[in-house]
């Protein structure tokens, strides 16, 4: 573990980038809960890259902070490599600095499903509805494929699903799964069901009107691989427990 503290990051501050990255073309995309995500380029300045930096969390005990950052970056990279190998659509891993808190990922064109939904839900005509259903169907299948190979995402929200290469006028892209910072390689149906439960609640919480659309996600999920039906039954249990958890005040 390097004892030097990573410098403060701001959109205007040049970053201590690892060797393959250029200092100049750095554009802050999001400040998520966990990471700052930048758009930059690799070597030849023609290959676009998403660079994820996990700055230290001041609220966490430094020992715990370092342990978590390192564990999560390594896990994220490992899971991405596994998904790639097994044909699940995810970004490429192009660089990793586990101790410094960096991960470089191949750039994915398109928009997050969350953005697509924000744009479409509420003002959909019948034609749009069909397309929206198509999108939900592809989400269900993409999640099913990931679960089939024994990967659980751990943070399956609509912001972590990208519709690529959709511009906002069309809804017909591939679903690319991103943000595997909390992913596990697990073959437990319970974990898979919890993934679906997290996604369901992300839908319910941010897209209240889109709640019925989630049924379509579950439908195509159920058809996407052999064990899917069992997981859907398990989801019922997880939901029930979710309700039971309101037992005490």
């Amino acid at each position: 573990m390097s004892p030097t503290k990573p410098p403060l990051v701001g959109a205007s501050t040049p970053l201590p980038l690892p060797p393959p990255f250029s200092h100049s073309a750095l554009r802050l995309l999001t400040q998520g809960a966990e990471a700052l995500v930048f758009h930059t380029t690799l070597l030849d300045s023609r290959t676009p890259v998403a660079l994820k930096y996990r700055p230290p969390k001041p609220y966490r005990h430094p020992l715990l902070d370092r342990r978590l950052t390192r564990q999560r970056l390594l896990a994220e990279a490992r899971v991405l490599v596994k998904c790639r190998k097994e044909g699940v659509l995810v970004p490429d891993v192009v660089a990793l600095g586990a101790d410094e808190g960096w991960l470089g990922l191949g750039w994915v064109e398109g928009a997050t499903v969350r953005r697509v939904l924000d744009k479409w839900v509420g003002k959909r005509g019948e034609e749009g509805e069909g397309e929206l259903m198509g999108l939900m169907g592809r989400v269900g299948r993409a999640v099913g494929r990931m679960h089939e190979i024994g990967v659980c995402h751990g943070d399956l929200t609509t912001s972590n699903l990208m519709d690529s290469p959709a511009d906002l006028r069309s809804l017909a892209g591939d679903i690319v799964l991103i943000d595997f910072g909390l992913a596990t390689q697990s073959i437990q149906d319970e974990d898979r069901a919890v993934d679906l439960y997290v996604l369901e609640r992300a839908f319910a919480a941010t897209h209240p009107v889109a709640e019925p659309l989630f049924q379509e996600v579950l439908r195509t999920y159920g058809e996407s691989y052999k064990g899917a039906k069992v997981v859907l039954r398990r989801l019922e249990d997880v939901r029930m427990r979710g309700r039971k958890r309101s037992m005490l005040g």
Binding site: P58, R60, L64, V194
Partner: protein, 356 residues
């Protein structure tokens, strides 16, 4: 308008009297009394004994609150009580008291969701208009955001509530339950110096605490004073691990999890304000960690002191009166209570569609 509120969903009996002078003025707290049932060290509170405690104290507390508030029976508009969630027997004993008062004084009854009480009281005291809410108590752990007339649950504990995890660990260590097990853990944790590794279990916006409790219990057995010094667990620097170290490690770990899931919800809805409510919300280390996170996001944290974050009657009176003012009424036949009552089941008629 003035309301009387009765709370008894767990081991605290609370009686509060609130006045809403006018829609543009802040609420006035006329009385806020509480009496707590404490079980002996190493034991939790049982429903039967807790209900008995509430029955024994409710008349005295109501009389005292009325006297303190200086209001007459005819000034009161409605009697509010906790409908749930909570422990069955204590809830019922307080609901019966509420019904009796309503019949005796010929007043309207309003059943209140306990969690909504916490949230609305927190908003009223801190003036946080539309925060993400972390609700942490002995029975509940929820990350909540308001949208479309509901308090929607973003994340929650998948098994034990965080307060329950802390309380049970206090029992393992035989730390007294008075004034509160969590408070005693907090004081002990201040003396802790070694961070002992515990599992860290966040799944998306949810968290799990049962594995951590189990691991902490195992560690507690390894520092027992019954063991020879030579056999006791040692930290990396060779020093013997203490009870204080374990309390410190447990707090650092579970609070980091809470702050993390709260931050996720904030990032998800693009909010920078967070309000902490519920008994665990009194913990100053949790407040401090949350403030560091919020500052990083250019926002701030709102919290209340023990008068309001620990279960109380005033929050029930306040939330009940908010509902009453929108025209909500509850016939006597429907004035039941329920152990299960989700925060998102309540239609929040008193707030606008989107914000404040």
């Amino acid at each position: 308008m003035i309301a009387l509120g009765l709370e008894g969903s767990a081991n605290k009996l609370g009686v509060g009297i609130i006045s809403h002078p006018s829609p543009s003025k802040p609420p006035l707290i006329l009385a806020n009394l509480r009496h707590t049932y404490n079980s002996p060290p190493g034991e939790g509170f049982l429903p039967k004994d807790t209900a008995k405690h509430h029955r024994t104290w409710v008349v005295r507390l109501v009389k005292q609150a009325m006297r303190q508030a200086g209001v007459k029976v005819e000034n009161i508009s409605c009697i509010c009580y906790t409908k749930g969630p909570g422990m069955g027997a204590p809830l019922q004993s307080v609901a019966i008291a509420a019904r009796t008062l309503a019949l005796l004084w010929n007043k309207e009854l309003i059943g209140v969701n306990h969690c909504i009480g916490h949230i609305e009281m927190g908003r009223a005291i801190t003036h946080a208009p539309n925060p993400i809410v972390l609700y942490v108590s002995g029975g509940n752990t929820q990350v909540i955001a308001y949208s479309h007339r509901r308090y929607r649950i973003f994340g929650e504990a998948l098994d034990l509530a965080v307060g329950n995890c802390l309380d049970r660990f206090a029992r393992t260590l035989m730390i007294p339950n008075n004034p509160a097990p969590g408070y005693n853990i907090e004081q002990l944790a201040k003396k802790g110096r070694h961070l002992i590794e515990l599992p860290y279990a966040v799944k998306g916006m949810d968290a799990s605490f049962s594995g951590i409790l189990a691991a902490a219990d195992v560690l507690a057995a390894q520092i027992s004073e019954d063991l020879d010094e030579g056999k006791r667990l040692r930290a990396e620097d060779g020093e013997v691990v203490t009870k204080a170290d374990l309390c410190f490690s447990l707090q650092e770990t579970v609070f980091a999890m809470l702050v993390e899931i709260t931050e996720r919800a904030m990032a998800h809805v693009g909010s920078s304000e967070v309000l902490i409510v519920g008994g665990v919300g009194c913990n100053e280390r949790l407040q401090e960690m949350m403030a560091l996170m919020a500052k990083d996001r250019g926002g701030s944290v709102f919290a209340t002191d023990e008068r309001f974050c620990i279960d109380n009657g005033i929050m029930i009176a306040h939330a009940g009166l908010l509902a009453y003012e929108t025209g909500i009424r509850m016939p006597l036949e429907e004035s039941t209570c329920t152990q299960r009552y989700r925060t998102d089941e309540v239609f929040v008629a008193w707030r606008d569609q989107d914000t404040a």
